[in-house]
């Protein structure tokens, strides 16, 4: 029986395994160094905040794996020998495969800051980071202040986590407004204000210069590059993005760039070796997407796709319209289609913000053809299905604004804003 080995028990590896099991009777082994069972990385924050226990982050009960004959092996893969189709483990063992799926995810970026490996300095990616945080920041007596470096999605989650235990947070953001490489200005500045309303010390346009150690090799303070200010702290969170977790592949024959290079079929340069999820890098981005997509659902979709290919139905990875979501403290964010921070050529943005400063939308459309290109929504839930259809049908922006109510996904009895949005849109057209 063909033996499929998957390195990584994250969403991409596990989805691949489940679908291969559905489609076939092959022998399946999932290898991971992190945890015994698959858990949801996106929920790590809720464990620290006490909303859930770690076991609640596991989407499948422990019996699931044996019942579905998915063999789980704990161990760190040190090396892949593609000629003999063998994995070498750090503890000395080895494992033979017929087909290999690399799904090793990401690791936090570290940019060579002095002191970046001190005790009390951590990323927020793996289960071990959570354990570390629990150790160095159990409460505001042990951790009197924490500094977070890097204003992205994980940075703001870490800020929320620490905030939940009343630990004062200084949040260093390189850009001059939160996440404004992605968010248009109106949205980004609204989130700035929201962060400050949570009593988080947001420092825009500030970079980390170095992390200073105390006599025991633990962090004592940090220095800000721009001002030279020293901030005393007990924990430093490094959340300046992630990159593919593929160091152990460097010595193999598999072609890598920033990630493991794959074609549209998720095949690497070596036969019978595939790569999916955060660690895979397309030769070229698909439909305006980036070559490396470090989001949950793309990992899942790649898993679904590669399972088909491995089970004899070779198909391309072909993601549909871009969408995503996140939450900034109390404000939910969803996006469908493309809305860039600044309108590109021939594009225009329509922005509406509610007076309470926690809800807004930005609609992007083509100035010349009026085609609707995408929407960002904050504090209002929208239907994925409807926007997906509208994007496929290439609806124009007037249609979308006029039919926005159909896309509303807020709970029943919520106030609705479509009328407001509609009239704001008409007013804007008149003044332009």
């Amino acid at each position: 029986m063909e033996h499929i080995v998957i390195i990584g028990n994250g969403i991409s590896g596990v989805t691949a395994a489940r679908h291969i099991r559905k489609l076939s009777d092959k022998q399946i082994t999932i290898v991971s160094a992190e945890t015994d069972y698959f858990f949801s990385r996106t929920a790590l924050m809720y464990v620290y905040m006490g909303h859930m226990k770690f076991e609640h982050t596991q989407p499948y009960e422990d019996w699931f794996w044996e019942k579905n004959r998915i063999h789980l092996k704990k161990g760190y893969v040190k090396n892949i020998e593609t000629k003999s189709k063998t994995l070498q483990f750090a503890d000395g063992g080895s494992l033979q495969y017929d087909k290999l799926i690399i799904a090793t995810g990401s690791k936090p970026n570290k940019f060579g800051w002095p002191g970046q490996d001190l005790d009390g300095v951590m990323g927020m990616y793996h289960k071990q980071d959570l354990d570390n945080l629990e150790r160095y920041a159990p409460n505001n007596k042990v951790c009197k202040r924490a500094v977070i470096v890097g204003g992205g999605l994980i940075g703001i989650e870490l800020a929320e986590m620490l905030n939940s235990r009343n630990i004062p947070v200084t949040f260093l953001v390189r850009e001059n407004s939160f996440w404004n490489g992605v968010l248009p200005e109106g949205e980004s500045t609204m989130i700035n204000r929201h962060i400050k309303n949570h009593h988080i010390d947001l420092r825009l346009g500030n970079n980390l210069k170095e992390i200073i150690s105390d006599e025991n090799g633990k962090v004592k303070s940090i220095i800000i590059q721009e001002t030279g200010e020293e901030i005393t702290c007990d924990v430093v969170g490094l959340t300046a993005g992630v990159s593919p977790n593929i160091d152990f592949i460097k010595d193999s024959d598999i072609e890598i760039g920033r990630g493991v290079k794959v074609n549209r079929f998720l095949e690497t340069s070596i036969q019978d070796v595939y790569a999916i999820g955060d660690c895979a890098e397309q030769h070229e981005g698909i439909n305006g997407r980036r070559p490396i997509e470090a989001v949950w659902y793309t990992g899942r979709m790649m898993g679904e796709t590669v399972a088909q290919t491995i089970c004899g139905n070779r198909i391309q990875y072909n993601p549909g319209h871009w969408f995503n979501s996140a939450k900034f403290l109390d404000i939910e964010y969803q996006t469908y289609g493309w809305v860039f921070a600044k309108p590109r050529e021939n594009e225009a943005h329509f922005h509406w913000k509610h007076a309470d400063d926690t809800k807004c939308i930005t609609v992007c459309y083509n100035k010349n053809t009026n085609e609707f290109l995408g929407i960002n929504t904050f504090g209002i839930r929208m239907r994925h299905g409807i926007f997906d259809t509208w994007l496929t049908e290439k609806r124009d922006v007037d249609y979308v604004i006029a039919h926005l109510a159909e896309a509303n996904f807020d709970p029943e009895f919520y106030k609705t804003y479509e009328v407001d949005i509609h009239s704001a849109f008409k007013n804007e057209l008149q003044t332009v």
Partner: protein, 529 residues
């Protein structure tokens, strides 16, 4: 494993750290109010009972009010679940167990030893705790308090005060607020005040909480109850007719349109207490597959029991003779069997596919009931059914289901099993409504395409132990008979994936393998089979 687990067993940390001075004062006020009740329980004879009762209930309510205002109004609107799994009381820690034991003991005394609460037997005047409530009872209905009056008062206060707390906690969520106002209204009006006033108007009428529907008020068709109604002319007849219409007309229509939530989360008193006072314990319900299996056996067994018990009760006081009353034993059994058969055949014919694997269990249940009824008919005598006294069957149901299951375990075990274990494992009304919801209702929880990140907040918050995530991460709508439509899964979802809706029956159940967002051909290919 999270190293937090041991914390929950500690008495002081980290809960006490988080509580503000204002909350400590509030806690003290509330405890003072409770202390008055405890003193009364130990037979302290207060000089002015009315005053002390007012003080006690006032202190308790004010304590809860101040505490929750400080807990929620000092923060921005949003999800307020920080630390629920660290706090001893809400994570089966020491405080949780202590509270569980106190509540359980209270229920045992309430149901089985009311004399310890000070109930005066055989006309003797009340003492202790119950006598403290005499002034209020006299004010409302002109009679002395009973243990049920004491219980009803405390129950109502709990729903009102904790309902207020719940509304502050979800002050950004209109759905949660409206349904909480609704349960507060129904508890105060329908369960508490109206029955008292009805007694004032006509003291012979049996207690009737108009919003309580058979089989939840399993006693409504008891002989004393029916006789009580019938001997009271038109009002009584009207009430019992209303009871029957509630079961066969009102309930099915509302459940068809809105799902069982119209009752379980908007009207019901048991649900009301669970959603308000019990809210802090919702995360404790088990999400395991094994718990779900147990649930389905248990709740349907109770349903069978309650149907057979009620039929048996009515059966024993019906005559054989046509001339005495048009409804005879034989005709009655025939009608019941006919009705059940109609329902069963209808479901099998129209809904066979949606019923799926459950069809087998449905069939087993149906045949068990029919068999029991037939046996009953042929072994029954004037007051014996199944060779035991009909009244014994009735009191067994009353004790084991009505008291022990719904009260002692259902509420006493809030801090251990979660706040809706009665609703989930025991309530026969929930079983009937759930059956309708599963097969004939427009209600469902819609999932939002491919947005789910499998975080598990929804499952964690589901008081009915539904593994909501298992559906959401597949993009599958949640159509489950046990869902009470509390809406909390939708509220806590950080990605806006869940929406409670009433829409057409078409496409309500949508099993998918591949979610929206993927290659369209692949979605078709995989979802087709």
């Amino acid at each position: 494993m999270s190293n937090k687990i041991n914390h929950s067993m500690s008495l002081a940390k980290p809960d006490a750290v988080d509580i503000s001075n204002k909350q400590k004062v509030a806690l003290a006020i509330g405890i003072l109010g409770l202390f008055i009740l405890v003193l009364a329980l130990f037979n302290t004879n207060f000089p002015n009972k009315g005053l002390f009762l007012t003080l006690s209930l006032g202190f308790i309510s004010v304590g809860i009010l101040i505490y929750s205002r400080d807990a929620y109004l000092t923060k921005l609107e949003g999800i307020k679940n920080d630390g629920i799994w660290f706090k001893s009381i809400s994570s089966r820690g020491v405080w949780g167990w202590i509270l569980g034991v106190i509540l359980t003991a209270f229920y045992i005394v309430l149901y089985f030893y009311p004399q310890y609460l000070g109930l005066g037997k055989d006309g003797a005047s009340n003492t202790g705790l119950i006598s403290l409530f005499d002034p209020l009872s006299n004010l409302l209905s002109g009679r002395n308090a009973s243990q049920w009056f004491v219980y009803g008062t405390l129950y109502t206060i709990a729903i009102l005060a904790f309902g207020y707390k719940f509304m502050l906690k979800y002050r950004h969520n209109r759905y949660e607020q409206l349904r909480t106002v609704s349960v507060m209204f129904f508890q105060l009006g329908f369960a508490f005040l109206i029955p008292e006033f009805m007694y004032v108007m006509n003291s012979d009428l049996p207690y009737y909480d108009l919003k309580s529907v058979w089989p939840l008020n399993y006693y409504i068709f008891d002989e004393w109850s029916v006789k009580g109604f019938l001997s009271n002319g038109n009002i009584g007849l009207g009430l019992i007719l209303f009871g029957i219409i509630s079961i066969f007309v009102i309930t099915p229509i509302l459940t068809y349109k809105y799902g069982k939530r119209w009752y379980c989360s908007w009207v019901c008193g048991c649900g009301g207490l669970a959603e308000t006072a019990g809210d802090s314990f919702r995360q404790l319900s088990s999400k395991k597959m094994s718990a779900w299996k147990l649930e389905r056996w248990l709740i349907h067994t109770v349903l069978v029991f309650s149907v057979v018990m009620t039929v048996a009760m009515v059966y024993t006081y019906l005559g054989y003779d046509h001339n005495a009353f048009w409804l005879t034993k034989g005709l009655f059994i025939g009608l019941v069997i006919g009705f059940l058969t109609l329902v069963f055949a209808g479901v099998m014919y129209f809904k066979r596919k949606e019923f799926g694997r459950d069809a087998k269990y449905g069939a087993i249940g149906y045949f068990v009931v029919i068999a029991l009824l037939v046996i009953m008919h042929f072994t029954g005598t004037t007051d014996n059914v199944f060779f035991i006294k009909g009244s014994a069957l009735r009191s067994a149901y009353g004790v084991y289901i009505g008291s022990i299951f719904s009260g002692v375990i259902g509420t006493g075990f809030y801090p251990i099993l979660g706040n809706r274990s009665w609703c989930r494992f025991g309530c026969p009304m929930a079983a009937i409504l759930g059956f309708q919801q599963r097969l004939f209702s427009k209600f469902r929880i819609t999932t939002n395409g491919g947005q789910c990140i499998s975080c598990g907040n929804c499952s964690n918050s589901c008081e009915m132990g539904i593994d909501v995530r298992a559906y959401a991460q597949k993009g599958e709508n949640i159509v489950r008979s046990s869902c009470v439509g509390c809406g909390i899964c939708s509220a806590v979802c950080p990605r806006g994936v869940l929406k409670l809706e009433n829409d057409t029956m078409e496409g309500r159940i949508n099993p998918t393998e591949i979610l929206l967002g993927n290659d369209v051909d692949l979605m078709d290919l995989v979802n087709k089979k």
